[in-house]
């Protein structure tokens, strides 16, 4: 059993996805049950599916000083950092603590692999990269974090976490450990993934992509809709911001089962959930809302619905918001963390968009449409390939477990 965790303050957060730039747009889409999915207009060759594409990424050019980092993923990163005053909040923290006392820990599944794909589409006649693509930093998994470190002027610990679809949930755990040990005073966490051929054709090859908008937990669900997103949060010690929402706990565990399908009994997912509850000092009955991983793949939803049924009372509300954003892969953890935080802030349980004929395996916990109620404690589940599971626990300021 992990030790009880001292909560951390989340002093700023933001998200940009197919349902809009920044928190106000996200809340508006959630309130009106408006999906951001559209027919695929992205891949370099036709692919019959729906995608959660962010509008305006193409226009979000980087400042001249950062031009060497130019690529779609870093454009989305820059667009995301510029929402909700997040850049200013990081600059203020940098003034307060010093650039070397803030960690930068971001998750991504594919970083800017889209730029490497582009380089391969237009190789020079001699078979090498074109001159404008000879930028080593954008062809590495660390591209996102290298760019963000330069854009934010941070000089502390700086790490890419890339565990597929749990990446930007696990960053909260790494940040908490570094703050607890006194290595840093604050941490910028989050994640970014952008649409690219690798994930569209890759998940398609695995027969995991639906040709219709994804239907999480629906009896007729037949696969995911891939999305893109950028999201960030600033974590500090709770005593500096007693009015801010809090990270109460986190859990991480491995399935030890299969590279691309979850453990049939949700073993790792349940271990991560128990670990998060124990660290947060919570009983399952105290959880008001769970934002589920709910990808709309046959297996994930079956395993996760069973986990919810056996772990929580009917009063705990649960939903997947992948029907809004699509599955934003390495960015899913942070996007859904911000939705959990908005659930607390606005008393909004987002409905499980796309689940019009609920799978009978789903229990009474499922919120098929929006519900308005006070939320003190919200969890967020994120599960990735390789059997990599994470669960985050958030609470309203001043909540005492």
């Amino acid at each position: 059993m992990p030790a009880l965790m001292t909560p951390l303050a989340i002093t700023a957060y933001t998200a940009t996805s197919a349902i809009g730039h920044g928190l106000a747009a996200q809340l508006d889409a959630l309130r009106h049950e408006r999906s951001g999915l559209r027919p695929n207009d992205f891949s370099s060759a036709p692919l019959d599916c729906w995608v959660g594409r962010v509008d305006g990424v193409e226009d979000a050019s980087l400042p001249a000083a950062l031009a060497a980092w130019e690529c779609r993923n870093n454009r989305l990163t820059w667009l995301g950092l510029n929402q909700d005053g997040f850049l200013d909040r990081v600059h203020a923290a940098r003034e307060r603590y010093g650039a070397g006392r803030i960690a930068l820990l971001l998750g991504t599944s594919t970083a800017s692999i889209g730029a490497t794909e582009e380089a391969y589409r237009r190789l020079d006649p001699d078979g090498g990269f074109a001159d404008d693509m000879l930028r080593p930093a954008i062809h590495a998994p660390h591209s996102l974090v290298g760019f963000a470190a330069a854009a934010l002027g941070l000089e502390g610990p700086c790490l890419t976490i890339s565990t597929a679809c749990s990446s930007s949930a696990k960053v909260f755990a790494s940040a908490e450990r570094m703050i607890r040990l006194g290595l840093v005073d604050a941490a910028v966490v989050g994640g970014v993934d952008t649409l690219c051929d690798s994930v569209l054709f890759g998940f398609n090859a695995l027969e995991l992509v639906s040709s219709v908008p994804c239907r999480p937990f629906d009896a007729a669900r037949n696969g995911i809709s891939i999305g893109e997103a950028a999201g960030f949060a600033l974590l500090e010690r709770a005593d500096v911001a007693p009015a801010a929402p809090q990270l109460l706990g986190y859990g991480e565990a491995s399935d030890a089962h299969h590279m691309s399908t979850p453990h049939p009994d949700g073993l790792g997912a349940e271990l991560a959930l128990r670990d998060a509850l124990a660290r947060a000092g919570l009983d399952a009955a105290q959880v008001d809302y769970i934002n589920l991983h709910g990808t709309a793949s046959l297996k994930n939803d079956e395993v996760e619905a069973a986990l919810v049924s056996r772990s929580f009372p009917a009063r705990t509300r649960a939903s997947s918001t992948k029907g809004f954003t699509g599955h934003t892969l390495g960015a899913a953890g942070i996007v859904e963390a911000t939705i959990a935080l908005q659930a607390i802030e606005h008393g909004l349980i987002p409905g499980n968009l796309g689940g019009s004929t609920p799978d009978p395996i789903c229990g009474e916990q499922f919120a098929w449409h929006n519900e308005q109620q006070r939320v003190d404690v919200a969890l967020s589940n994120s599960f990735g390939f390789g059997g990599n599971n994470a669960c985050l626990a958030f609470a309203r300021a001043g909540f005492a477990a």
């Binding site: 992990p2 370099s44 060759a45 692919l47 070397g100 599944s109 692999i113 490497t116 794909e117 391969y120 589409r121 078979g127 090498g128 990269f129 000879l134 080593p136 930093a137 062809h139 590495a140 998994p141 660390h142 290298g146 000089e155 502390g156 610990p157 700086c158 790490l159 890419t160 976490i161 890339s162 565990t163 597929a164 696990k170 450990r177 607890r180 040990l181 290595l183 051929d197 690798s198 054709f201 890759g202 998940f203 398609n204 090859a205 695995l206 991480e252 565990a253 491995s254 399935d255 030890a256 299969h258 590279m259 073993l267 790792g268 271990l271 990735g384 390939f385 390789g386 059997g387 990599n388």
Partner: protein, 263 residues
């Protein structure tokens, strides 16, 4: 800045020139160790997986298995931090080349092997490990940044952690941007306290100064040929049994490491 103290219980190492940490130690002592097999053996993986797994997975599993064997610990219980600067370059090359020509023909197996956490995924499956596992990257600072993440897990959770850092070689045209021309991998089993299995005590301090320890022959140039070989100054300390080195943990952050003997 406080000092981070951890203990090393196991070391793994593989390159085309060096089969293990003992070979590395004898190389430093001036002898010519026997060359390893052309592919890492990765004996921890079941035979089926060993046949199917890409070289990046074999390399990480090989060094992880060596370190675990030396430590005598049960791998099923160890949290894992697997670092790599570039992930699986041959798969990146295959995927980008296929996507440029015939995207609908992309191999599903190669796609799921392309995730950065493929190696740690195979490892946890092979060892029945339910503990937390992570896959990290930080360009040419991947070893230092991965070490810092592993040490923070050891100390914050008071648990042993298996750290690996490995990269295989790339081919053109990707090689021109990764610069990774030689395979290299290493692994450490790091624990919070001294025990009969302790090999060394490490005291780590974060420093804003970037002065990466120089590498003498025959190791000079290895770091240029593989980002994971940034571990060599620390591996040299472990082979010699004493001393101090400095690694880069980020573009603006150094990691000073003092090695002490086990009291």
């Amino acid at each position: 800045m406080n000092t981070l103290r951890v203990y090393v219980e196991g070391v793994g190492l593989w390159s085309p020139q060096l089969a293990d940490f003992a070979a590395f130690t004898s190389l430093l002592a001036g002898s010519m160790p026997t060359l390893p097999a052309t592919r890492p053996g990765a004996a921890t993986l079941p035979p089926n997986e060993r046949r199917r797994a890409p070289e990046s997975v074999l390399l990480a599993a090989e060094v992880a298995g060596q370190a675990i064997t030396m430590s005598g610990r049960d791998p099923a219980t160890l949290a894992c931090v697997f670092a790599s600067a570039h992930g699986d370059q041959p798969i990146t090359d295959y995927m980008c080349a296929t996507l440029a020509q015939a995207p609908a023909e992309l191999s599903p197996i190669r796609f799921h092997n392309s995730v950065h956490n493929a190696a740690v995924g195979y490892w946890t499956i092979a060892t029945g490990c339910l503990a937390p596992s992570t896959a990290v990257a930080a360009q040419r600072f991947s070893f230092g940044a991965g070490l810092l993440e592993a040490v923070s897990q050891v100390l914050a959770e008071q648990q042993p952690v298996l750290l690996t850092c490995s990269d295989t070689a790339g081919t053109q045209p990707l090689l021109e941007v990764t610069g990774c021309s030689q395979p290299f991998g290493c692994a450490l089993v790091l624990v919070p306290g001294a025990s009969a299995a302790s090999l060394a005590r490490l005291d780590l301090t974060l420093t804003p100064r970037l002065i990466c320890t120089e590498l003498a022959e025959p190791l000079a140039g290895w770091r240029e040929a593989n980002a994971s070989a940034a571990a060599l100054p620390l591996l040299t300390l472990l082979a010699r049994g004493h001393g101090r080195c400095q690694l880069d943990a980020a573009a603006t952050l150094g990691l000073q490491i003092d090695m002490g003997s086990i009291a």
